[in-house]
């Protein structure tokens, strides 16, 4: 049977607040044993940080001097709301302002953080460049 310590103390005519006093003393003793938070003792702490990867630097791809006659892939990389529409507007802009540029719209397969090597190979084979809309 569980003992309700507060009720037991009340029946004995003692304040249940005694329970809190008892716990406080035990806590105080423990604090004294280990040194208080306000202690002037000086400690050296170990860093909790993990290990970052080394970074391999990559050159950007060389640029042609003009987009005339070039193919540009416009890629919806995340399928976030509105990104496909924005890219279709970009296709329309090229058609109106730089008609010699051919644009191709593609949606990257998989969830946004997933790679799509098949699409990258298609772009490398067919396009001069790509514009990738990421979000949001």
């Amino acid at each position: 049977m569980k003992v309700n310590r507060r009720r037991l103390l009340s029946l004995l005519g003692m304040s249940p607040a005694l329970l809190a006093g008892t716990q406080f003393e035990a806590g105080q003793k423990r604090k004294d044993e280990h040194g208080g938070a306000g202690s002037d003792q000086k400690l050296t702490a170990v860093s909790p940080k993990g290990t970052p990867p080394p970074i391999q630097l990559y050159s950007m791809a060389p640029r042609a001097s003009s987009l005339d006659g070039k193919t540009i892939y416009v890629v919806d990389a995340t399928s976030f709301l509105g990104s496909a529409t924005l890219l279709h507007k970009m296709q329309a802009w090229f058609q109106q302002n730089m008609p010699s540029v051919k644009t191709v719209f593609r949606t990257k397969a998989g969830v946004y953080a997933e790679d799509d090597p098949k699409l990258w190979a298609e772009i490398k084979a067919n396009a001069y460049a790509c514009v990738m809309a990421i979000g949001h």
Partner: protein
């Protein structure tokens, strides 16, 4: 790829985009930014974005794109070789406890609550609780594709430092190591503010005095409190997560990240098979399971929650209807609820999961217009992944299950039997690991 490429995102992610490019080895990558957001804008507004200035560079966006694709590269843009990111000093101090608390807090290494200062002595004491070598690598640092916070590596010793900071006793350390072996760690950086639930099964629950009775999900046991806290500290420190505007983009953040909803299942008072046994582990094994998703909600709000005869299956189904269907559900039943469900005929968790899956439905139209569908599930459909590929081919008024699979509805039991209540975490099971392996 070797092809000129221009990434384009909204102004809200300027810092993240630039830092990510640098971490991927292209610190001078030419990037274009639109105003924020793109979602929810009309066709005319989006067309206007393209002929108006990039809010970061000030150059008209289409002019900037054409220029970025044709302007010769600078020496910096052609640079190759190796670069390095610094993780900071190996130690801090010597200094007073108060000053070290400030140093750790001001350098983003805490959850903004006081920590146990990780001295060499305390870390060594933690390391004695495992047979694994302190220098054993749990995760190798990698550069490349994937979430930025998944790229840092860490060792057993580095995990121990964070366990000390969280207030873990050494005997808790194998649980923390098992969690760390699962990665990615706490503080998932998504704009969704998704968080974690950590379920612990096996005899270790009693060995560590974990609370799975009255107040099981509250702050009433050291193991529950500190093991959960360590998940967030590890995410911040071991994998460089939780940097606002960089590796953390959670729009509103999540209170669950303070403790990550640690659940020790009450295997004794549960009428059902423990979760870890459902996942293929032996009953006597100690196992930790990680769930991820946006929130935790009380069953009190369900339709019929005040009915004289509680129909918990229907209440749960009702609550599922406002969840993120692409995720999953972790139903946390008080033993009184579990026993009542057994009386209703659900003598296994699987039977209840199956009923909930079959009886919680929506139209295809509702699914298509639901959160996650357009940017998370539609791309999967394009890859032919089921059931999404089939769902996108069905008519808008066809009825489909709310969750893709019955196995995405999991159940655990805990609580003090004070009343027949349940809670549901809108979370999906990610990974499970043996704790015994780390003893």
């Amino acid at each position: 790829m070797g092809v000129p490429a221009i990434p384009m995102c909204t102004q809200a992610y300027t810092e993240l985009a630039k830092l990510t490019a640098a971490r991927d080895g292209m610190p001078h990558l030419r990037q274009v930014f639109t105003p924020h957001p793109v979602g929810g804008k009309t066709d005319a507004e989006l067309a206007a974005y393209l002929v108006n200035p990039d809010p970061v560079s000030g150059i008209q966006i289409m002019k900037e794109i054409v220029d970025d694709l044709t302007r010769p590269l600078t020496a910096d843009e052609k640079k190759t070789g190796m670069d390095a990111i610094a993780a900071g000093p190996a130690t801090f101090g010597p200094d007073t406890v108060d000053n070290l608390q400030e140093i750790f807090m001001n350098n983003g290494m805490t959850d903004y609550m006081p920590i146990i200062i990780p001295t060499e002595e305390k870390v060594d004491a933690m390391l004695k609780a495992t047979s694994h070598h302190p220098d054993e690598v749990l995760r190798t640092p990698v550069q490349g594709v994937g979430y930025t916070s998944s790229r840092w590596g860490y060792t057993v010793r580095q995990v121990a430092v964070n366990a000390v900071m969280a207030g873990c006793r050494p005997e808790f350390f194998p649980v923390v190591l098992a969690m760390a072996s699962l990665g990615p760690l706490g503080l998932f950086g998504s704009t969704t503010s998704s968080s974690t639930a950590i379920v612990i099964n096996g005899p270790i629950r009693d060995k560590l005095n974990m609370n799975y009775g009255l107040g099981a999900l509250g702050p009433f046991a050291q193991a529950n409190a500190t093991i959960g806290r360590s998940w967030t500290l590890m995410g911040k420190n071991l994998t460089n997560g939780g940097i606002l505007g960089d590796t953390y983009q959670g729009g509103q953040g999540n209170q669950l990240d303070y403790n990550n909803c640690v659940i020790a299942e009450d295997e004794k008072n549960s009428p059902w098979t423990p979760l870890h046994v459902q996942f293929g582990f032996k009953p006597e094994e100690n196992v930790v399971s990680i769930f991820g998703g946006p929130d935790l909600r009380q069953g009190h709000g369900a339709r019929g929650a005040g009915a004289e005869i509680a129909m918990f299956d229907q209440q749960m189904s009702f609550m599922f209807q406002s969840m993120v269907g692409g995720s999953g559900a972790l139903v946390i039943c008080d033993p009184l609820v579990a026993k009542r469900l057994v009386d209703q005929g659900y003598d296994t968790k699987e039977k209840l999961s199956e009923w909930l899956w079959k009886n919680t439905n929506r139209t295809v139209k509702d699914f298509k217009e639901s959160f996650l569908a357009s940017f998370h599930l539609y791309p999967l459909a394009l890859q032919g992944r089921e059931p999404y590929a089939s769902w996108y081919k069905m008519p808008d008024d066809a009825m489909i299950p709310f969750f893709p699979k019955a196995s995405q509805i999991n159940l655990v039991v805990c609580g003090g039997q004070a009343n027949a209540f349940f809670q549901i975490a809108n979370m999906n099971h990610g990974r499970s690991a043996s704790i015994d392996k780390w003893m």
